[in-house]
Symmetry: C2
Subunit: 354 residues, 2 copies
């Protein structure tokens, strides 16, 4: 492997000194880019895009060709694991993802196996190796997975949901069964992330998209505990460097202290909390990643710059901040806007790192 030329992301995630605040964007390889839409079209459908390493590599690198980002993130989908577990993932246009065989019975949950990621998710590992080769050490590659709770919501509901009626019905009425399912998913996610690390990702992020729909007690019991188990079982060193782990619960800003005690290196933040306030609450235990409202990118470059300035000032001096949006970039954003944000982060953050 070629040595890493820009390791600011890894250093900031470990609260080591950097010259400027590194920046990347959740869903930076995505629909807001015309070149992504072109590749997506060529792939035929979204699943084919995820499952063809050359195409996944191509879209992973697209935002890096446009913007001076400080990280690449593997292009994939959080639902590849349940698909590998046999649930039959499909994407219907405009409707979002669904599963042909949602988990609604104890028998279905008991018969679930834990997939070998090198086998059934081999296309992800091939993409990781290819992306690393194509990156040539420019910036680190971030791998990721959905959290067990988040994956369980899709697996039990069978599709996106507003009500969470099936999975929460199970949570309240059959908690032991839900724990059994979460345990299996946790094993699968652990193997999957360790395989990503073995194949070359240099940091990992766990996306707990739906942890924020739980009560505090349920969040700890059904989401955070399983993420902590994963964190404790990850291979935290590769190629002679520590592999940082980022944990992100959307809507979880009231639980930061608990999350910071999970053993992770950094917390992803949505925009409902000030960075400075979050930093006071977690102290020196973890780095912070975030947290610009993705809707700021609907605004003028002048206003984007002002919001970047405010966020940097809120975090304050010293390392431990990776700039990002507080959620994925929206599909209808003008690609000129992220350019303004990224330039502002690089320029305006230097005084905070002297």
């Amino acid at each position: 492997m070629t040595p890493l030329q820009n390791d600011s992301l890894l250093r900031a995630l470990l609260r080591e000194p950097v010259e400027y605040t590194p920046v990347w964007m959740m869903r930076q390889a995505g629909r807001y880019l015309p070149e992504y839409r072109e590749t997506r079209q060529r792939a035929g459908d979204f699943l084919a895009l995820c499952q063809t390493p050359e195409l996944a590599c191509e879209v992973t690198l697209q935002p890096l060709a446009r913007y001076p980002l400080d990280a690449a993130i593997l292009f994939s989908d959080i639902l590849t694991i349940p698909d590998a577990m046999g649930l039959g993932l499909y994407f219907s246009e405009g409707e979002g993802p669904g599963f042909e065989r949602p988990l609604r019975s104890a028998a279905a949950i008991r018969s679930l196996g834990v997939p070998d990621p090198e086998q059934s998710l081999g296309y992800v590992m091939a993409a990781v190796r290819l992306i690393r080769r194509e990156l040539g050490g420019r910036v680190p590659l971030i791998g990721f997975s959905g959290s067990p709770w988040t994956l369980a919501t899709y697996m039990v509901e069978g599709a996106g949901t507003k009500n969470f009626s099936h999975v929460k019905g199970m949570l309240f009425d059959r908690p032991a069964l839900l724990h059994e399912l979460l345990g299996k998913i946790t094993d699968a996610v652990t193997l999957y992330l360790n395989a990503q690390i073995a194949n070359g990702v240099q940091a990992v992020m766990i996306f707990d998209t739906w942890g924020g729909v739980l009560s505090p007690q349920s969040y700890r019991e059904f989401s955070l505990d399983y993420m902590s188990r994963i964190v404790a079982s990850l291979q935290r060193e590769a190629e002679g460097r520590r592999v940082p782990v980022i944990l992100f619960t959307k809507g979880g800003s009231q639980w930061l202290e608990w999350m910071a005690a999970s053993g992770c290196d950094a917390l992803g933040l949505d925009w409902t909390i000030e960075l400075g306030e979050a930093r006071r609450r977690v102290g020196h235990r973890v780095a912070l990643q975030g947290n610009l409202d993705p809707c700021v990118l609907y605004a003028s470059p002048t206003r984007i710059r002002a919001e970047v300035r405010r966020a940097l000032a809120s975090f304050g001096t010293g390392s431990g901040h990776v700039f990002n949006l507080g959620h994925g970039i929206h599909p209808n954003i003008d690609p000129e806007r992220p350019a303004a944000m990224i330039a502002a982060v690089h320029e305006l953050s230097r005084p905070y790192h002297t």
Copy 2:
């Protein structure tokens, strides 16, 4: 007016002694009840149901005939105000509400008038008077409105939204214009709630459904400040009693201290915070209303009872708690389940009030 026979709701909202914890449910008059669906069918469409005082009264009283609830809440919709402002409200089956003329220009916002609620919302006032007469003093009647920010999101987007692209684009790029709109809505909501009070509602609730999608700074500037203005301008006494004001920001549990300083009497809570923790944070300034996860009602009566017990224990002894769900009851709930919850609240709360 006949004297109020059960005033436990009003006393709990003012932190005065009660014998048990009063309980009602957000959207208690709603689709989960077969008798509601029957009336809705008879009305033809949802708007006709809101705009026909006899039918609005009928559905308001339906849950009280089924359950020993401690309050009635006016059946209406938060979008009646923008409709009265001339935006052309419609409901399309399965799609939710929309406006024929969303606000997208400064000219459109400047030409908006503040409606006289006794005129253009006379059907709401007629419903209030009729419900009070039919209630005969059994329990108090709660009136309500959407918050200015929440109404503005619908008025600018023109429909429900996941991205909030138009209204947040305005927030970031044309904040003065958004403030002008919010000022007009605030005047309209103030007149509307005062008219509800003049016509007979005995408590009012402000629903800030979308405040939780804002950053802390934006929440204060674009949502909370306007709600505080409304609270300061409300007629707080009627029929010789104080009219309590409840403020509810969904997803706002990180901002409870700010909300408690708004001048309101009580805060509505969603289920992402423990009642006991919320009580410690707001101290004796306000009462609390909430906060069972509506999904608990998918569970068995035994489990519902256990969750009620936990919530009551979390709040602890003394007055200042109104039991409720943390959000509206879901349309697919079995009507037997709320019965179990309400009975459990009444029975299990007595020891906390001796």
